[in-house]
Amino acid sequence: MAPALDGLFELHHVAVYRYLLRQTGLRADAEDLTQEVFLRALRAIDGYERRGRDRAWLLSIAHNLVVDGSRRAQRRPRIDAGIAPDSLACRGNAMLDALALEQAMERLPALEREALVLREVIGLSYAEIAEITEATPDAVAARLYRARSGMRRLLDRDDGGSSDRSA
């Protein structure tokens, strides 16, 4: 059993971590929850029929953890979220770009942000996102479009604001 979990961990822990980081906004929480996902997977692995959908299965567990996590309601501002040490080493515009992206993501409604992360960061199909979030593919399509439109609007506004300030 443990070797199977080791394989799943090696293949998918980064995707699970990135999803949880975007959802929780905190690196420490994302790390704790990522380990919890794999421990829960271990408990459920006997009843799981592997059909090449390991990643979607693990992300479903992660989604349920986020939904159940009441502590998310009292999380710190997401402005510090996801700024990895390697990102901190970035210089100038790259750092500002990362911050702007984080701020824009923070302002999206939770369902839209989740769909965007699962699609653009993790690379899942509409069907997989629908399965994980317990929504229809049509609803996923609508959420993704609204998320993209929202991000475009927010990032354009930030860019405009930056330009105004620098002018």
Binding site: L5, H13, F38, L101, E120, S125, Y126, A141, A142
Partner: protein, 136 residues
């Protein structure tokens, strides 16, 4: 949100779209701008190389090196216990039934009669004819 915009978003994701709806959407002057914006957002989001910190891997290593905590052992142990208890109960019940049959009321025979009927042959329409052969 318009249907045209939605079709372009789905196209950017590689999902199946209606060709006629796509043709209609692409006629819009905003279509190229929207597609370029979608591609730009994707590039920005995917360029982030977020990885867990070293502490994450250290903790995971510690957890896995001491064995995985699992709850699967408890149901298995419970099932084995219930099975064993059922077997013992079945054996004890069989022994008890066997003992009861050997030493119960059946071994003592039927009870003694307290009332004896004598049934006479003949016509029953004229009443009971005494059986003289049975007279002392």
């Amino acid at each position: 949100m318009t249907d045209d915009d939605l079709v372009l978003s789905m196209l950017a994701d590689g999902e199946a779209v209606d060709p006629e709806a796509l043709a209609r959407a692409l006629r819009s002057p905003e279509a190229i701008t929207a597609l370029v914006a979608f591609a730009g957002l994707r590039q920005r989001l995917r360029s982030r190389a977020e990885l867990p910190g070293d502490g994450f891997y250290r903790r995971w290593q510690e957890r896995t090196s001491t064995g995985f905590p699992t709850r699967r052992r408890w149901p298995a142990a419970a099932r084995a216990g219930i099975l064993a208890a059922s077997l013992v109960l079945a054996v004890l019940t069989g022994v008890w039934i066997g003992t009861a049959r050997r030493s119960g009321p059946l071994e003592q025979g039927p009870p003694n009669p307290t009332y004896v009927f004598h049934v006479a042959t003949g016509s029953h329409t004229q009443g009971i004819v005494p059986d003289e052969s049975r007279q002392p």
